[in-house]
């Protein structure tokens, strides 16, 4: 664990505790005399215990504190919440609220990734452009992205494009600045070698700059995802007639407490799924990089 700790991304952590039955998840101190099959089963059972134990305990505490004794107005019981969740989010709301929200989110993320990487490659490879724009970009990054919602509302109106613009205006910066940083911290020897071999133009970007900036870019995208989700919700809370953020605030204003909680849960689930998908993609895109790190750490 300590060898790859600096890189111990949630990917590694979940893998280490995930216990999908691989030998990785078995701690080194596990009984060695048992036959391999039993050992694997033991490891899997242990992994399952570690995944499920605490959530089960927490839900039990939640159940006991809400279902036993007098009814709590603000916190529904787990059973009621699950029931409301399916009641609220499986009907028409999928098409009227969930899908539009997710579409905006996707467009926003895609937009900020494209603009961020292209802009970052450009600014990162041109020295004077970087010097010229750096303080301005730092300033824009420092502005809390949510305050731009009123501005964009004025400039663009309150349609879907405003929400996408809000998401881009906030989620862009981590990707952009990380790409610039990644391009700048490129390996000198590699850069010189490519130069000597006469690799120029598009090939240079494709085979040298983009790969060497990729770890940084992915780190930027990871930050951007959570910002994008936050901004999607906020922009809908601020000015919208549909969408998750709008609906949840609506529930809260009409004191539909279980429904409100189910909305919070749904947002949580979206966040978890997003980070899961991202980890899958990251593991594929950066497979060579993690492999490289492992070899370097082992040496």
């Amino acid at each position: 664990m300590s060898a790859d700790a600096p890189l111990a991304t949630p990917v590694n952590l979940t893998k280490a505790a995930g216990g999908s039955g691989t030998s990785r998840s078995a701690p080194p101190s596990s009984p060695a005399k048992k036959p391999p099959g039993a050992k694997r089963a033991w490891g899997a059972a242990k992994g399952l215990f570690f995944i499920a134990a605490l959530p089960v305990i927490l839900v039990l505490i939640w159940y006991i504190s809400t279902a036993v004794g007098e009814k709590n107005f603000f916190v529904p019981t787990p059973a009621l919440l699950v029931e409301t969740f399916f009641e609220t989010w499986t009907g028409d709301r999928i098409t009227t609220d969930v899908i539009p929200s997710l579409t905006r989110l996707l467009f926003g993320i895609a937009g900020s990734i494209i603009i961020g990487i292209v802009g970052g490659l450009l600014i990162g490879s041109v020295r004077w452009l970087r010097a010229l724009t750096e303080p301005t970009l730092e300033f824009f990054r420092a502005i809390p992205p949510t305050v731009l919602i009123p501005v964009l509302m004025l400039l663009i109106g309150i349609g879907d494009d405003m929400k996408v613009a809000v998401i881009i205006s906030g989620a862009l910066w981590p990707i952009l600045l990380n790409t610039i940083e990644g391009v700048r911290s490129m390996d000198e020897v590699l850069a010189d070698t490519t130069h000597t071999y006469g690799i120029k133009g598009f090939n240079r970007v494709r085979y040298l700059i983009l790969p060497s900036a990729m770890p940084q870019i992915m780190a930027g995208i990871r930050q951007s995802l959570s910002i994008a989700l936050i901004l999607m919700v906020i922009s809908e809370m601020f000015a919208a007639s549909s969408g998750l953020g709008f609906t949840i605030v609506q529930f809260q204003r009409s004191f539909a407490i279980p429904e409100m909680w189910s909305g919070i849960v749904l947002l949580g689930i979206i966040g978890v799924i997003m980070s899961f998908i991202f980890q899958l993609i990251e593991r594929n895109v950066l497979r060579w990089y993690h492999g490289l790190r492992e070899i370097e750490n082992a040496a």
Partner: protein, 250 residues
Amino acid sequence: MGLVGLLGFLVIWEVLPRTGIVNPTFLPPASAAIADLFRNFGLTAFWQAVGDTMWQWLLGMLIACIAATVLGFLIGSSTFLRRFTNSTIEFMRPVPSVALIPLAVLLFGVEIESALLLIVYASFWQVLIQVLYGVADVDNVAMNTARSYGLGPLARLRYVIFPTALPYLMTGVRLASAVALILAITAQLIIGNPGLGAEIAKAQSGGSYVAMYALILATGLLGVIINLVMRMIERKVLSWHSSVRTEVAT
């Protein structure tokens, strides 16, 4: 060079509304916004709003950092606890803090607690994850050496684990400080807790757009200042650490 860039940006901002490419009512020229910002510097109400914002930020940061550090060291130093809590932490962490806004409104209204709930929730995870990584990074040889020299658990925590985790902790605190500011302003903007965000919302709905841009500039400045101060503190606290020492040497 950077100043030229900043100036260039301001010039573009000045020219766009003046030439009428963008409606000057909605995007007043830069000079008007900056002049209004400087006028704000002389107003008590402005400093009151800044003070409110910073107070919420500071309080939220303190709670989140202390809780996350204590819990992080506790969980991180035991393999069992780390594996035991991992799934829960990984599940809770990506939950967007703004999802809690309706709950915060219901429970606390526009009191400072509703902003604090959001700030603490968002920045807690940043610090906690970093501390966990930091504690996991402790060098085994150093740990065993300390053990064979007879250092007790507390001494080991103080002289082995804490110095290893400190750079991670500082990174977490720096990340959290930015997140906390965003959440503080957002809470003010949406919920209406007193502070810069509430002033922006007021200016926007009241149609005084110049004031709105001036306040937005102010929040940007606040972000820059917090970032600078955090970097300075990080450098001071970690002056012994090799990453800072080599930076000074080169």
